[in-house]
Amino acid sequence: MAPDVKEAASSAAPASLSTLIEERALTALIHRAARLADERLYLDWMALFTEDGGYSAITFENAAYSGLYLFKDVGRRALHMRAAFLMGLWQAPRGKTLHLVSNIEISLGVGGESATAVSNFLITRTPDMEHSKLHACGVYYDRFQKQDGAWLFADRKVVVDTNVLPPEFTELL
């Protein structure tokens, strides 16, 4: 039997306006990180993290088995190093990326100063003189902290769905 949409809607508790505002702000932050990565504004991307914020990636297999990370940057200095590699220390060339983020589920913490989110991502990459290709997909596990009234990433853990990385995998995920 099909669910009674009208009944379900009327029985759901209305979300408070402040909750909606916070969720909207956090969704915008997630989208902003995607946009800055695609526009290669790596220092601006870095500024979306707290001073001690973390950014890490792990394959699906190792997330399930052992916990062996591809990389784990902790703190502004480590993020700055990553930005520098993206801006020229890597000789591996940048491709044009497109980040799509969806299925965002946000949980606000008690007190309104912290939150978590889980979302799915899909990234295409377009090298010079080649067609666009699926580069990566997976799940973002985010932790947020509110500082001076603005939300920042306290931690982003990227679990990539593939267990075999493509040859060019130095882009921001």
């Binding site: 990370y69 700055h80 190093m81 890597w90 000789q91 591996a92 990385l165 493509p166 040859p167 060019e168």
Partner: protein
Amino acid sequence: MTDVWQGNSLNLDASRVIDRNIYVDPKIYAAERDQIFAHTWQWVAHESELPELGDYVTATVAGRPVVVARGDDGALNAFFNTCTHRGAMLAVHPRGNSGGSFVCMYHAWCFDTEGKLMSAPMDEAYGDRLEKACYDIPKVRMETFAGNIFISLAADVAPLETFLGQAGPYIEMFTGKHEAIGRVRWTLDGNWKLWHENFRDNYHPMYAHVAIGVNYQGVTIQGTNHDIAQGHSLLAFPAQGNGDPNRIGSVIRKVTGKELGAPPPPGPTVAANADDNRNLILAVFPNLDFQHSPVGINHNLLQIVRPLGVDKAMVEIVVFGEKGESAEVRQARLETSLDGQTAAGKISGDDTEAVRRCAGGFGAVREVRWSNMDRGQSPGDDGAKNDEYSLRAFYVAYKQYMGQALEGVG
């Protein structure tokens, strides 16, 4: 007998050049599968990756699908990963647990962890002509060394320890008291040899890897490069730097326009091996490499490159931790071991790109046929860190295995 690469246009001895056709010729690749990959010991897994009864790993060697499984008696068995009924692969995951038997998904023929046929459904239809012993899966020759599981498709390959030769004691040091703590794989857009050569080549790091180059500026490079026979080689060098902690900071500032912050407090450390506290890169013919770094938490890594075709390969990296190490050290190992490694790594990201660019450059193989491998002029098997004794060691063995297959190429 005249070396097949004699008479090259670089006017060098044949042992000091590489014919680029070996990276692009499908006939050479086919010969490599038959004459090298089917006639050497091939690393498959570390025993610590199969701790439980029924655990298995799969691999493809020279085109043959193979499964290694731990049986009810705790022993390891290697056999071909194919149902003897109609051919379907029995295990399709890189690793898993069989539950004590392998049941074919197609017609449910069931094999034990040694590959012996246990049952076939509705077998009365075969009358009395189904001789089960005829359907046991052929075993694959397997030996272990320092916890590493190797297989060989050929019976005439020397015993594993003999095959490893002088590489053996180093492998014992890297993995003998260790356990594998994870693997990562990535593909290469290029021939498999390009990756293995990269390990034997210590001329490139200070140029291909900007962060390493910065560290070496103004430094007299120390370290050695050895042909240790049978196609194996060793690079050994101390941890070196120019002693200026601000140098990387100045490069970062130049690139990003921002000051790099102060470094975090140092993480945990593990005492280096008292007998040998050098950085070591061990290359085992034809496609296996080990890296050992005594810095920090004493890293031990293994990489194996397997061809997927003449112009495609897959690299697997395995990280090792010491058995019984503290939770703090293990966590640090899980978080930091791969920072420079894999296609996502701050070092290997560039190496992977170098493979891609070489493969692209080989498009001009008809016009530019020869690569130089001439660094290091001292006689013998040993030279400076960025000499090429190690590379030449590979190609001495390569030519022996390939024999006449290299004639008439190009």
